[in-house]
């Protein structure tokens, strides 16, 4: 027998359920245009039928339904589409950044729309030289050359500065983006406990999930994330390339560190924490996203353009300077007068000028001197020196061609002559005619500039260092043999990880293997064309007699960045002290690991002294801790002599390696100072075999580079030689003194540089000579940028369409359609009304039963 209120109860359930439906519809409508909102649907299910089968059941015709109940309120979401949208967001963001960078680079050059860009300026410059070649002594033409030269340097400086500004901008963007990513991760992490709580209670936290999905979408713009459910209900694991960014509510922030192969201060790259080892940073594996785009733009796209432009500019500057510095201007100047006691004794039989013997050093055969009457400047004769001698009385004589009488006759009027005589014997002046040779362009030291975000320019270390070969090693020693002698791995046996020789920024495409001799390795290094200052090549000189290797070179960071792939070190050069650093390595006993205690290694408590640093040893600590302590103590202050000394343990070969910037010594500790008995030599931590000293300490000098890896400073320092601006007659046009002023051969040669093949060395092909003019090379840069830009624009368009498609799919699945909601609302409303009507009906029926039954006969 069913209960009295059975019907009402059923209807009550209906009312409540339909109300829920209506409320949910209202929620949907309210959020119809909310970003990231997915529509929610109420899932209704009939409540259990009555009676439930059992022994005491009520018998009747069948089961009766008992109404409806809300099973769940869930959001409508397609995971796959979500994933695709994220892919689309990541690639669009990356392409947009790259597109924008390339577009900015295009704007910098402004070709071909402008006639005043680099190309136009260079054309004008060489045109000005053509003008000079026609009229070498025309002041207007000379002024034009100066003006066009200054125009060139202005244009170059402008381009260079703007490219650097783009870089600064990208730097800032990377910093900002990393902060944003870390912020988003934190937000996601803070949502996770909330979500987990709701799930634990059996409900679906739809709005929180929407919020979290939105955050993840935003995150995808910056980095290419993989999102997976974690082991906890409602938890997520977000990772990039297998390395985790976040798990549940623990966040592993991205950090910005200077990149190991970009020593310049402001090139910082995001690194990720490796969860398994704290404080161990690994280069993050971004493959897409805005961060990747910015890093790509800053480290690949922009430097490529910068370095090609560098090449063009330096070829241009050097070629012009080379020719110009061999030429002479048209003003004969710089008359140097020699001191008192200089006389020119010219007699009819001997043609010489007499000067003090010490002054003969200023003259050389073939030079021209001018002999001037001391009383009248206008009486001069120019002669060429044919011989220089000293006579017995301490006088020097400059001999020259017989010029006959020094009496000149001048016609004052027709038939009227006057004699103009030189009273040479009374002491004439001798003047050396000096025509200076100048460079056309000069590069100055960098003036101080305040660039936000990119402070000082890169300094090079000019280094000369002599390194002694370890005993038993010669140029013919192979790498394999060297490995045995020294006990370190240089060329790993795993071929896929074979290290490449990397010198500063340039990687050789060579790998080192065990069979290479040292000589071969050095030759390969010499082939590398590092970016150098003053054209000083990087040099390795081997000296087998003295068992030495002498290195000279200009490097970015004392040649310290020699390494293999992924930052792994190339042991070869650390061992040979390539960095000009002291080093040594010691073998430790079999089975030594980082967690072996020092006591087990046979070291007792006590002290060691390295230069001025005293370090107390507690032999109960592990090797790792001991090394850390020592490193900390050694690197305490910059002033300490042992600063920049590092000790590390190579587990593969059980060798303790020490690397230091300078020649230091480790003394056996003075027993009077140390409390404990000095440990015997055999067990002393560091003084086992003494340290291999350098033959000569490396000499460092800091020179400022003309160009640098990460920022090109050439533009800021290039200018027209100020000496030429002072006096335009110094501009070289003639190639010999005799040709002044009409000789224009130098001017012609400079003008012809425009069409000279100076660039595009094709030494890798059969032709070993340059094949491109400067113009061609520059045009190539422009075309290259244009192609890249066009390609990126097309890719960005395609990616945008991809994204659009999947965003539409997302909307299709999860979007709110007002029409649909209205219809559902009406449905629910009718149900609600019908249920209310039913309640009325039952109510009336019950009323009849309660109030109108059992009143018979009243």
């Amino acid at each position: 027998m069913r209960s009295t209120f059975f019907g009402i109860e059923t209807m009550r359930r209906a009312l409540l359920s339909q109300r829920t439906v209506m409320d949910t519809v209202g929620h949907n409508i309210a959020n119809a245009s909310t970003k990231g909102y997915s529509r929610q649907r109420v899932s209704l299910t009939p409540t259990g039928a009555f009676p439930y089968p059992g022994t005491n059941r009520v018998y009747g015709a069948g089961q009766i339904g008992t109404g409806v109940i809300v099973e769940s309120i869930s959001r409508v979401r397609d995971q796959f589409v979500d994933g695709q949208v994220r892919v689309g967001l990541t690639s669009t963001a990356q392409l947009n950044v790259e597109k924008s960078t390339l577009s900015q680079i295009e704007n910098v050059f402004m070709e071909p729309a402008t006639t005043q860009g680099f190309s136009g300026a260079m054309g004008d410059f060489f045109d000005a030289w053509q003008e000079i070649s026609k009229y070498p002594d025309n002041t207007a033409a000379r002024n034009q050359v100066i003006a066009m030269g200054q125009n060139m340097t202005d244009v170059i400086r402008n381009i260079d500065q703007t490219l650097r500004d783009i870089r600064v901008d990208l730097n800032g963007q990377i910093q900002k983006d990393v902060a944003i990513v870390n912020g988003i991760l934190k937000d996601i992490a803070s949502l996770t406990p909330e979500i987990a709580k709701v799930f634990t209670h059996g409900m679906s936290p739809n709005d929180l999930l929407d919020k979290r999905d939105l955050l993840i979408d935003e995150l995808s713009q910056y980095v290419n994330v993989d999102v997976q459910d974690s082991e906890y209900l409602g938890g997520l694991a977000i990772s990039i390339g297998g390395r985790e960014l976040m798990r549940n509510d623990t966040v592993y922030d991205l950090t910005l560190e200077p990149n190991w192969d970009h020593p310049s201060q402001n090139t910082k790259t995001p690194y990720m924490n490796d969860v398994s080892q704290s404080d161990f940073y690994m280069l993050s594996q971004f493959s897409a996203g805005e961060l990747k785009g910015a890093i790509n733009s800053r480290d690949v796209i922009l430097p490529e353009v910068q370095s090609k432009f560098e090449e063009v500019v330096s070829t241009f500057v050097n070629s012009v300077n080379n020719v110009h510095s061999q030429g002479l201007g048209i003003s004969v100047e710089d008359y140097s007068t020699f001191g008192a006691g200089t006389t020119a004794k010219i007699s009819n039989n001997a043609n010489y000028a007499q000067i003090a013997a010490t002054d003969t050093q200023y003259f050389s055969v073939g030079e021209q001197i001018q002999i001037v009457d001391p009383t009248d400047d206008s009486k001069t004769i120019t002669v060429t020196i044919t011989d220089i001698q000293t006579d017995g009385t301490g006088n020097g004589r400059l001999y020259f061609d017989n010029i006959g009488s020094l009496v000149k006759t001048e016609e004052q009027a027709a038939g009227v002559y006057t004699d103009v005589t030189f009273d040479i014997d009374a002491g004439a002046e001798i003047r050396k005619l000096v025509v200076d040779k100048y460079n056309f362009f000069e590069t100055n030291e960098l003036l101080s500039r305040n660039l936000v975000g990119d402070t000082s320019p890169d300094y090079y270390n000019q280094m000369t260092s002599t390194i002694k070969f370890p005993p038993g090693v010669s140029l013919d020693t192979t790498i394999g043999e060297l490995e045995n002698i020294l006990g370190v791995q240089i060329a790993p046996s795993n071929a896929t990880n074979a290290p490449r020789l990397r010198l500063d920024n340039n990687a050789l495409t060579d790998t080192i293997d065990d069979n290479m001799t040292l000589e071969e390795v050095f030759r390969r290094i010499q082939k590398v064309h590092p970016l150098t200052n003053d054209g000083n090549a990087f040099g390795i000189k081997f000296d087998e007699v003295n068992h030495n290797v002498v290195l000279t070179g200009v490097t970015y960071n004392a040649l310290a960045e020699l390494g293999g792939e992924n930052g792994s070190e190339c042991n070869l050069f650390r061992i040979l002290g390539f960095e000009g650093q002291n080093l040594s390595s010691y073998a430790l006993q079999e089975g030594t690991q980082l967690n072996t205690t020092l006591g087990d290694l046979g070291i007792s408590n006590g002290w060691i002294q390295i230069d001025n640093t005293l370090i107390q040893i507690d032999n109960s600590v592990t090797l790792q801790a001991g090394i850390n302590d020592i490193n900390a103590a050694l690197n305490n202050t910059v002033e300490a002599k042992s600063y920049n000394t590092q000790i590390f343990f190579d587990e593969g070969t059980r060798r303790l390696r020490i690397v230091s910037d300078h020649a230091f010594s480790a003394d056996t500790p003075d027993p009077s100072i140390f409390p404990a008995t000095p440990p015997n030599a055999a067990s002393n931590f560091l003084t086992v075999t003494g340290l291999q000293q350098q033959d000569s300490a490396p000499t460092y000098s800091k020179k400022q580079s003309l160009i640098s890896t990460t920022t090109s400073d050439i533009g800021a320092r290039l200018s027209v030689n100020s000496a030429l601006i002072e006096d335009v007659n110094r501009i070289a046009s003639a190639s010999s003194y005799a040709g002044i002023p009409g000789d224009n051969s130098i001017a012609l040669e400079i003008a012809s540089l425009k069409n000279a093949m100076l660039m595009g060395d094709s030494s890798t092909g059969r032709l070993g000579s340059p094949t491109l003019t400067i113009d061609d090379s520059y045009n190539d840069i422009i075309a290259d940028v244009g192609v890249k830009s066009a390609t990126t624009q097309n890719s960005a368009d395609a990616a945008d369409k991809f994204l659009e498609y999947y965003q539409n799919r997302q909307q299709e699945v999860s979007g709110v359609s007002l029409d649909e909601e209205m219809t559902i609302l009406i449905e629910a409303q009718h149900s609600f009304q019908a249920a209310s009507r039913m309640i009325n009906v039952v109510d009336e029926m019950l009323s009849t039963v309660i109030n109108n039954m059992g009143l018979a006969g009243r």
Binding site: A113, E411, A738, L748, I782, E804, E812, V816, M822
Partner: protein, 409 residues
């Protein structure tokens, strides 16, 4: 959630699509607008990378051609100036020839007349020298590379080192010059009055050294008397009353100017070439200052002729004058040759100019094809784009506004 063959479309989808398409249309319009207002198809290299590369190349070529054109013009102007000078010189030389021919007629002339003729030739000589010293644009035409130095210097005195001759150390013989293997003794002593002063080692023999001298025009010997004897290597200076030497102070190199890549043309002129050179110069050879009495060949010949006319009465012969006339003819021929060479050069320059202009036009045309926009095409595309834009706005506006709510009671 999708049933049937239709796809679910929400309001957000429609507005998103609408907005995206508006942006696309506007960006097309923007691009066309830009093209039309600048007239250039290629704003950035990315618009057409290959085209941009070519455009840059062509533009550089056009620039170069402009410069070459200027160079050709300048060379041309110089050439026509030189030609004018040659013209004058030819006239002068013709007149000299006429005079010489008159002087060679024995019968009607007497020495006084001849002297007058010779005087005129002397002044024509000076005029020739000043023609040769012409300037153009502040630079001397015939001084080679030393464009600031006056090329030809007419001197009225000779200076040389004395060597004792056959007559002993009281006799001064006129020095001789060798040009092209022919040694000629100077005829500068044309009569007893032609020598104005004799200086030995800078001192006047008469006034300072207390001597005297006599001249013999026939033998060209000056005999000293009364003063110190001459020593070898003494420096003797003789002063005359007319031009006796014309020295060349320029140099013998030439300056070239580029008229197209790798092609140059001479732009300066050496007034004389050295004795052993095998190139020609207008004024002939010159063995250098201070060596005896050397003059530039052409002037030397003129002086020789003049002097022969003077000396006719002093033992000169008609043959000498006739030879002089032949020499003048040689000089005239040299100048005529030089003129025709100049003419040839001018022709070459004009041809070069034509070539350059044609190349210029051609390259500019290609450049324009690459770079410039076809106005008609761009404008009609712009109109089309605008129409599309308007249509999309209108239709979109209608559709996104309608919802079910408009129709429910």
């Amino acid at each position: 959630m999708l049933t049937g063959g239709y796809s679910r479309v929400t309001n957000t989808m429609m507005t998103n699509t609408f907005i995206r398409d508006i942006h696309r249309n506007l960006s097309t319009i923007d691009k066309l607008q830009r093209q039309i207002s600048t007239g250039k198809k290629i704003q950035y290299p990315s618009d057409d990378p290959v085209g941009a590369d070519r455009a840059l190349d062509y533009r550089q070529t056009v620039n170069e051609l402009d410069q070459y054109s200027k160079n050709v013009d300048d060379a041309n102007t110089l050439a026509s100036n030189i030609d004018t000078v040659f013209q004058h010189m030819e006239d002068l030389l013709l007149r000299v020839r006429d005079l010489a021919v008159r002087a060679s007629n024995e019968a009607p002339q007497n020495q006084a007349n001849r002297d007058t003729i010779a005087d005129e030739i002397n002044s024509l000589l000076s005029a020739m020298v000043s023609q040769a010293n012409q300037k153009f644009d502040g630079k001397y035409l015939f001084s080679g590379l030393k464009t600031g130095t006056t090329p030809f210097e007419a001197k009225t005195s000779i200076t040389f080192n004395y060597t004792t001759g056959a007559g002993g150390n009281m006799e001064i013989e006129m020095p001789s010059t060798t040009i092209e293997g022919t040694t000629t003794q100077s005829d500068a002593i044309t009569d007893t009055n032609s020598v104005k002063a004799v200086l030995v080692n800078g001192q006047n023999y008469v006034t300072a050294l207390g001597g005297s001298y006599t001249v013999d025009p026939t033998t060209n010997i000056i005999t000293l008397a009364g003063g110190p004897a001459l020593n070898d290597s003494d420096v003797v200076e003789l002063r005359f009353d007319k031009v006796v030497s014309v020295d060349y102070n320029g140099d013998m190199a030439t300056r070239e100017v580029e008229i197209s890549e790798g092609t140059t043309v001479k732009m300066s002129y050496a007034g004389a070439v050295s004795n052993d050179a095998n190139t020609q110069s207008v004024f002939g050879k010159y063995s250098g200052e201070g060596t005896d009495m050397a003059s530039v060949e052409a002037f030397q010949k003129m002086m020789q002729l003049r002097d022969n006319i003077y000396k006719y009465g002093n033992g000169g012969t008609i043959d000498d004058i006739m030879k002089g006339i032949d020499d003048i003819d040689d000089v005239r021929e040299t100048i005529t040759n030089a003129r025709s060479e100049q003419g040839g050069r001018v022709n070459r320059l004009e041809l070069a100019k034509n070539r350059i202009e044609q190349m210029n036009i051609y390259t500019s045309k290609i450049l324009s094809d690459r770079e410039n926009v076809d106005m008609a095409e761009a404008i009609s595309e712009l109109v089309l784009a605008q129409n599309i834009y308007q249509a999309s706005l209108q239709s979109g506006a209608k559709i996104i506004q309608t919802t079910l709510l408009d129709f429910l009671r």
